[in-house]
């Protein structure tokens, strides 16, 4: 076994666990309305699934799956989605971030779900980005 290589059991178990961890993270984001959870927690769980992949398969495995530019763009996309929802409310004639103006039923609940998704995207991308920068620094 070469120095940078992991045992096949660790590698396989980590790779098998990753989709379940990611699914649980999505569940936590989506179900934050009626149980403990939300964007911050779900984002951290999805980010830690990538960290698990890095621990199991070596960091090159993870780097093949996303580009750095896309990671930075995703970090900004979450903040822009959040601020953009506020601007949408402004255009519909209400105050900034006043979701009651959205033209759907249960508007405030739907607005909160969008906010949680935006927060989740930002937290996921930010934690992966920090982890990537710390690991690849020579």
């Amino acid at each position: 076994m070469k120095p940078g290589e992991r045992d096949i059991i660790i590698r396989t178990v980590c790779r098998l666990l990753v989709p379940f961890v990611q699914l649980f993270g999505l569940y936590v984001i989506m179900h934050g309305h009626s149980s403990p959870g939300g964007g911050f927690q779900g984002g951290a769980i999805i980010a830690s699934s990538f960290i698990l992949l890095a621990m199991g398969g070596g960091y090159d495995e993870v780097k093949r799956r996303f580009s750095l530019g896309a990671l930075t763009a995703t970090t900004s996309a979450g903040v822009l989605l959040y601020a953009g929802l506020g601007v949408v409310c402004l255009m519909l004639g209400a105050n900034y971030l006043d979701y009651a103006a959205l033209p759907v039923s249960d508007a405030r609940s739907v607005g909160m779900l969008l906010i949680e998704i935006a927060v989740g995207i930002t937290v996921t991308a930010a934690i992966i980005s920090i982890f990537h920068d710390l690991v690849t620094f020579e």
């Binding site: 951290a44 937290v123 920068d133 710390l134």
Partner: protein, 132 residues
């Protein structure tokens, strides 16, 4: 029994001060920069402990509305039944911001180690003086 209840009520307040003293001691007294960062994290969590302690209430349940006991009608909610959600919200965001702060501090540590080759404060000061 009033004396005992008062004493129990002050546990959290005293413990947050003790944890804060430990963190403050690590930040001022230890010379290793990673130790200082560990102290900073303990300090931060002691403040979070203090604020979350303000939200606790005796004989109250978690801040999620109990549904389904009478279908259709909205349950009448009493403030004394649920713990205070406001300090929890503020501290929820503070924890996640703490990770971002720790990340920036660790990045600075890596840069310092690359440039000076040490993380001990006294050796670091000496090398800074030597190289100018």
């Amino acid at each position: 029994m009033a004396g005992l209840a008062d004493l129990i009520g002050q546990f959290n307040n005293v413990t947050y001060v003790v944890l804060m003293m430990i963190g403050f001691y690590a930040m001022t007294g230890k010379r290793n920069l990673v130790k200082k960062l560990v102290g900073m994290n303990i300090f931060q969590w002691s403040i979070i402990l203090f604020v979350v302690s303000l939200s606790a209430k005796r004989d109250a349940t978690i801040p999620i509305v109990l549904e389904g006991n009478n279908a259709g009608a909205l349950p009448a909610l009493e403030a004394a039944q649920y713990v205070n959600p406001l300090p929890q919200v503020l501290m929820l965001t503070a924890i996640v911001v703490g990770v971002a702060i720790t990340g920036v501090a660790l990045a600075l540590l890596l840069r310092i180690y690359k440039r000076y080759g040490t993380l001990e404060e006294d050796q670091l000061l000496e090398r800074i003086r030597l190289t100018g």
